[in-house]
């Protein structure tokens, strides 16, 4: 920001750049190594200390993963839960945020306080687990979706966004005979496409990455999600190895397999990352505005 061409200033700029490039390298290199390792042979992984490009590209591990029921099932389950879950979460968040954005709605303050209080305090792990159990949702995919159906932070950000929409447009639609639902569907939602896209991605990433919910609510190893599988394949303990054997006794967690499953679980995130990045800074900042 500050122009400074003195020798000391130049020296600082160079040092500053070196450190920042170093940070970027530390961020990327582990991921690139895992990606390279997933395309290398078992022998090469063991022999070479660190590499970013395998001597010989082999896709054995990927062939194995996409040809083995355990992996394909986990992948399909995770994709379905993510898609359905995101739809549910976005739908609930939007429909709740809209009435909350109406300042004149009686009772609005009460509901808003109800929401804000959950940011400070929660029932915690065990009481929530018992609610899920009492609802009969253990070992149901809904347990991966419903307990986290609305993120109160996202809800407040979307509400703030709705409040900023020009009132005149909605008013005009109402005068033309639109019902409140009609206004929401025909005026508000089309104007909110960018923010809907952003929060769809945030919710989707949240479900895709979720490990705690399957850990708490899913016991049946036939219903494991991708993250659970990643964990069981890479964890250095006997429990995981046993659990894996119980699932598929032909499975041996070789090094290459660990690399490849990490890549598969990471890739979708990296694919949507450019879109996430475009919007998230804005989202974070709207969220930090005081109500």
């Amino acid at each position: 920001m500050v122009k400074d061409n003195s020798p000391a200033g130049r020296a600082f700029d160079v040092l500053n750049a070196i450190v920042l490039f170093g940070l970027a390298a530390i961020t990327l290199l582990p991921l690139l190594y895992v990606a390279a390792g997933s395309f290398a042979s078992e022998g090469e992984i063991a022999a070479r200390p660190f590499f970013l490009w395998p001597h010989k590209i082999v896709t054995d591990t990927y062939d194995y993963i996409f040809g083995t029921g355990v992996f394909v099932r986990a992948l399909l389950i995770t994709i379905c839960v993510t898609l359905v879950g995101t739809a549910v979460q976005v739908g609930l968040t939007l429909t709740m945020a809209y009435p909350l954005a109406k300042r004149q709605l009686p009772g609005r303050a009460l509901v808003l306080n109800l929401v804000i209080f959950t940011l400070v305090f929660s029932g915690g792990m065990i009481p929530t687990y018992l609610v899920v159990r009492n609802l009969g949702l253990l070992d149901s995919y809904w347990a991966l979706i419903l307990p986290l159906a609305i993120n109160p932070f996202y809800l407040i950000i979307v509400k703030t966004f709705f409040q900023q929409l020009p009132e005149a447009l909605e008013e005009a639609a109402r005068i033309d005979g639109c019902t409140e639902i009609g206004v929401f569907r025909r005026i508000v939602l089309p104007l909110s496409k960018p923010i809907i896209a952003t929060f769809s991605l945030f919710y989707a990433v949240g479900i895709w990455n979720d490990y705690m919910s399957p850990l708490l609510y899913i016991n049946d190893n036939q219903k494991w999600t991708l993250q659970v599988l990643v964990r069981q394949l890479t964890a250095p303990n006997a429990d995981s190895a046993n659990a894996l054997q119980a699932l598929d006794s032909t499975l041996f967690p070789e090094q290459g397999l660990k690399f490849a499953i990490i890549v598969i679980a990471t890739l979708p995130i990296l694919l949507v990352y450019p879109f996430l990045q475009k919007h998230f800074a804005k989202g974070v900042l709207i969220g930090s505005v005081k109500e």
Binding site: M1, V2, F12, D13, N16, A17, L20, L23, A24, I26, T27, P30, V34, G37, A46, P49, F50, T95, M96, Y98, P99, L100, L105, G107, L114, T118, V120, F121, S122, G123, G124, M125, I126, P127, V131, L146, E180, F184, W208, N209, Y211, L215, Q227, R231, T234, A235, P236, A238, Q255, K258, F259, I262, A265, T266, I269, Y273, A281, V284, L285, K290
Partner: protein, 312 residues
């Protein structure tokens, strides 16, 4: 308003308005139901911390035992260890994880080439979006004794028998802090960079005219410019000091490092889910939750006393 609009009886616009609100309430309903079922029902369920909860008796009929479980927690052998482990991780977070994004944001702010700066930002934000499962797995791949690349490098330099950085208890805390730094530092810069972008450039020009060098501009303009952001983040961090990040700690816990790895969050899981002591584990969770609320209100109060703006 024209007289023509006033002629219909007053009932009609009123009922129209009610109908209009009616739709809004209908839209509100699913969301409110969600909050009541999945956020407030568990809060009601906290009452089992004062009971000997038996699932077939339910919240209503399980026998009340007062503060028994809390006494058991405070007098028991685990409390000191949990407090120490959680507290030490919190201290390490305050010392290393909290300042890191501030430093990096200030460094990025000094970077003049916008294209380079944005590229670096795009890269260091990435780990925030990766799951803890991925971070833990990559850590195992890099640091484990048998295959770990980095473990091998360190061994080449230091010599001696290979350390297992992901299993031995003395390495648990350094590894956890490194993971937090790797995953959250870049993302944490966003809020400070926004604050820095909001600093009035005229201040810099005025300072330059007055002969202030780069360092003095930094000290008297840049740093005060992000102070409110630092205070807000400090309050938020304080409120979450006891939240050790369940997934991260759980994923990095092995049978060898349990003694240093156990924190309140993971303890609640082991006692509650694995061993089924619902009431006792709920009491532990409630204790942690209440301390968290006190911490966030306390730090907010403190920041106001010190003349800062506070969060609420």
């Amino acid at each position: 308003m024209t007289p023509a609009a006033e002629t219909p009886p007053a009932v009609r616009p009123k009922s129209y308005r009610l109908l209009k609100h009616g739709w809004l309430y209908v839209m509100l309903l699913p969301g409110v139901a969600y909050f009541l079922i999945f956020r407030y029902w568990p809060m009601y369920g906290l009452s089992i911390a004062f009971q000997d909860y038996l699932p077939f008796l339910g919240y209503q009929d399980s026998p009340w035992v007062g503060l028994k479980h809390f006494e058991e927690l405070f007098a028991g052998p685990d409390f000191g260890r949990l407090m120490f482990n959680t507290g030490l991780l919190a201290l390490l977070t305050v010392l290393f994880v909290f300042p890191a994004p501030i430093v990096v944001a200030l460094m990025l702010n000094e970077m003049r080439r916008q294209v380079v700066r944005r590229s670096i930002q795009s890269i260091i934000y990435i780990p925030h979006f990766l799951s803890w499962t991925i971070v833990a797995s990559v850590t195992y791949l890099l640091f484990s004794a048998d295959f770990g690349v980095i473990a091998g490098w360190i061994n080449d330099i230091v010599g001696g028998p290979r350390a297992d950085y992901v299993a031995q208890e003395e390495w648990f805390r350094p590894v956890v802090v490194l993971q937090l730094l790797w995953k959250q530092t870049g993302w944490g810069t966003i809020i400070y960079l926004a604050a820095l972008a909001g600093v009035d450039t005229q201040l810099y020009e005025a300072a330059r005219v007055d002969g202030a060098g780069r360092w003095r501009q930094f000290w008297h303009i840049t740093l005060p410019g992000i102070r409110p952001a630092i205070v807000v983040m400090a309050i938020l961090t304080t409120g979450h000091l006891l939240d050790s990040g369940f997934e991260q700690i759980w994923l990095m816990t092995t049978s060898l490092n349990r003694s240093v790895a156990d924190v309140f969050d993971t303890y609640v899981y082991y006692i509650g889910i694995t061993q089924g002591s619902y009431s006792y584990s709920t009491a532990v969770g409630l204790f942690k939750g209440v301390v968290g609320v006190l911490l966030i209100y306390g730090s907010n109060l403190l920041s106001k006393r010190l003349g800062e703006r506070g969060l609420f």
